[in-house]
Symmetry: C2
Subunit: 451 residues, 2 copies
Amino acid sequence: MPTLAPDAVLTASGFVRDHVVVVDNGLVTSVTKFPPGPIDVPLPGRVLIPGLVNAHSHAFQRALRGQLPDGSATDFWHWRDRMYALVGGLDPNAIEAISALAFTEMAESGITHVGEFHYVHHQPDGSPYADPDELAHRVIAAARRAGIRITLLRVAYERNGDQPLHPVQRRFIDTGGAPVLAATERLRRVYGTDEDVIIGLAPHSVRAVPPSSLRTLASFDGVIHTHVSEQPAENAFCHAQSQCSPTQLLADCGLVHDRFTAVHLTWPEPGDVDCLVAARARVCVCPSTELDLADGFLPVDARRRLPLCLGSDSHATIDLFAEARTLEGHGRAQSGQRGILGQPQAGGDGRLAWRALVAASAEGARALGLPRELGVTPGDPADLVAIDLTDLSALGVPPLEAIIGQASPRWVDSVWVGGTRIVAEGRHVRREAVVEAALQAFATSYRTAAG
Amino acid sequence: MPTLAPDAVLTASGFVRDHVVVVDNGLVTSVTKFPPGPIDVPLPGRVLIPGLVNAHSHAFQRALRGQLPDGSATDFWHWRDRMYALVGGLDPNAIEAISALAFTEMAESGITHVGEFHYVHHQPDGSPYADPDELAHRVIAAARRAGIRITLLRVAYERNGDQPLHPVQRRFIDTGGAPVLAATERLRRVYGTDEDVIIGLAPHSVRAVPPSSLRTLASFDGVIHTHVSEQPAENAFCHAQSQCSPTQLLADCGLVHDRFTAVHLTWPEPGDVDCLVAARARVCVCPSTELDLADGFLPVDARRRLPLCLGSDSHATIDLFAEARTLEGHGRAQSGQRGILGQPQAGGDGRLAWRALVAASAEGARALGLPRELGVTPGDPADLVAIDLTDLSALGVPPLEAIIGQASPRWVDSVWVGGTRIVAEGRHVRREAVVEAALQAFATSYRTAAG
C-alpha cells in the first residue's frame, strides 16, 4: 500500500498541498491530509496529477519523425505517399518494436492511456496473416510492454475515395462492415474485460468507407472514432458522393452519438458543430500534426462549443502539454479574442488551464471508453503522473498554469499505471530494451523503405 | 584554453562528429578533428550549437506569467491594462530583480543574447530619476548578473495614439525625438564598445510616436526596432493620421533599412512586405505572445520572403525551440502547403530545420547589431549551447530536426557566453541568488500591484 507524498495533488476541485495519496491494488484509496505515518515515495518539488490520455495515435508513424528533413512532401497528400512507403516495408516485428518505442515515449511524457487508430491489418499483398488479428495483437503487446493502457480502435478501410487503390492500401482493406465487426468481436473475446485493453471501432473516414458499410458499422456498441473533414478535398469528395458534409453523412448513418469522436474536424461545414453538440459527441484535436501536415486550425466555434480531447497522431512530437496549450492559443490568434475554450466543466475550478488539462486527460478518457473526471480521486485507477515543478520557468506561477503554460515531457518525473510505477526519474523502467528493439527495426524495414 | 568534446558540433555546413571545440580568451579558436590530447569538458550525449538570440523581450513582464488565470483579460487592449497595473507598482529594485529572473531563465533555455525593448524610464509620476537612465542601467545590470549579452533598445514613447494618456504611461514618456537620441548617446558613452552591451533604438510604434519624432529618430546609426501592425487597430489609427500603413509611414520617415526590425507585422497591408524586402529589413516574430495576446499569425507571404528572427516578448513562455518550430507550422496551417520558410541562406544546408535555427540565432544576432552566421566558427565569440539529445524523443532523428522538432529548455545542459560557462547541468551558476531576489520582488511591488 504505497503512500506517495508530493508537494501538491490535483483533486477534483484543484491543487491541495500537504496531502498524501495512498494506492492499493491498482486504485487510489485515499487522498488525505499529511499524516505522521511513513511515506513510501517522497516526491519533493513534484505535483501529482492524473495520467494524460492520448486519444489519437498511429504508433508506427513514429519512425517517420525527422525523416523528411528537406520539406519535400509538399502537402498532406504527398506526405501520405511517403508514409505509405514506410508502411510497405514494415513487418510484424518492426510494427511491434516501433509501436513500443512510441508508447514508451508516451509514458515518459506522462501519458497513461493511448487510443491507437489501427489500420495496418494484413500482409503486404493484402492476404490475411495466419492469425487475422496478428498486427492488432502486436500493437497491444507493445502497449503492454510500455505499461500503458490502450484502446485499440480497429479501423475499417475499403477504398481510396474515388481513386484506384494504392498498392500499400491492400494492407488496410476489408470489404464491407461485417468482417470489421467480426474482428472487434474476436479481439474482445481475447482481451475480455481487462481495463488495460479496450476494443473500439474506427471507420477510417468517409473517403475510405462507403455509406452502406458505415450503416453496418453503426451497430457497434463501444467507442467509435473517425477522421472527419481533415482536408477540404474530403468534404468535396463527400458532396460529390452523398451531397452532404462528412459529419452529416456520418450522422445519417447512425454513427454520431455520445460515444463518437470526430478526429480533426479542421474544415467543418455549417451545421456540423451543431450536429456534434446535439449528439454530445466530441472532437479530438491533434494540433502538432495538423500544423505538420498543413491541415489547418480547428475553427473557433468548435473550440468554444464542443468537448475537446487531444492526440499526437503522427507523432511529429509527443507532448500533450504543448498540444493542450495550443487549444486556447490557436483560437485566440484566429479570433483576436482571449478566453476561447468553452464553458467550465462541472467539478473544475473554471480556469482556462483546468479546461486545457481536461482535454489532455478526462475528456480523452471518455473518448477511449474509460470515463473519469479530472482529479486524483479515491476509487479511480492509480494512473498518476508526478511533474517536477522546480524549473525556473515555474517560479511564481500557480501549478495549474505552470503545467499548461510551461511544462514539457522532460518535466515528467514519475508515472504509475494501475499503481505500477513505469517511469522513475524521467526514465521508463524498460527503456533500454525498447530502444534496442526499435533501433533494430529502424535498421531493417524502415531505412530500406524510406530510401 | 578549455577544450570541449561534444558528440557533434554544428558548423556552418551542418553537424560534424568527432570534433572538439577549443575556446580561448572568449573566442572559439578552433573546431578540429578529435585529437589525442586532453579534453577539459567532455559532453557525452550533447551536441554543441551557437547561442540562441532572443530579439524581442520586455523582461519585467515575466512577473505577469500565470497571473491572469481566469482569462479575464478579453483582448490585447484589456491585457495591456493589466500589464500597466503591474508597471505602476515596480520600483528599480523590482525591475532589476525580475529582469534578472527573466534573463537567467533565458540563459537556462540556451539564450546568450537578448534584445530588451526597454520602455519604462521614469518615476511613477513621470519625473526622471536622479540618473535619468537609472532603469536602463538596472536592466543592463540584470543581464550582466545573468551573464548574457544585451542589446538595450531604448524606447521612444510620446503619446497614447489619439487617446488621453494612461497615468502609468507617464513612466514611458519623452517629448520629441531629441531627448531619446540624447539618452542613447549617454548610454553609449557608459558602455562604450563593450560587446556585452549594445545600445539600439526603438520607436515604440506609430501609435506612440508622431511622424515628426520618427523623422528625428531616423538619424540613429545603430539597430532600430519598432512594433509594427501588431493589431488591426494600429493600422486603422495610422490611416486616420497619415493615410498609409504603419510600415509605409516608417519607411517615409527614413526608418526602414537593413538595420531595421519590424516586430510582429501580424497585419501587414498590401505592399508592406515588398517594402521591407526592398530595404533588406527583417521581421521579429513572437509566436507564443502573438497567440497569448490574440494578435494573430504572421502571414505566409512574409514567412516566405522576409528574414525572420524570434522573440519571447511578454515571456508567457521562454522557449525559442518552440517559437522556431511554429514558423513553418503556422505557415503550413494557414496555407495548406508544406515548405513555407523562405529560401536557404548561404552557408547552410538548406533544410527547413536549419532555416528555423537561423531565425533563433544568426538572424536575431543581425537584428541586435552583432552579426554572425549560424555555426560554431573559429574567430566568433564563444557563445555556445550544449544540448542533451539523449531524450527518447530524439531516437532515430537527425540532430538538427531533433532540436527544432523536439527540444525544450530542459534539454539545455550547458551554456557559455564569451567563453564563460554560465549554465552547467541545466542550472545557472547564480540561480539561487537570482531566485531569492525575484521572490522578494514578487512579494512586494508585484503582489500589491496585481491585487
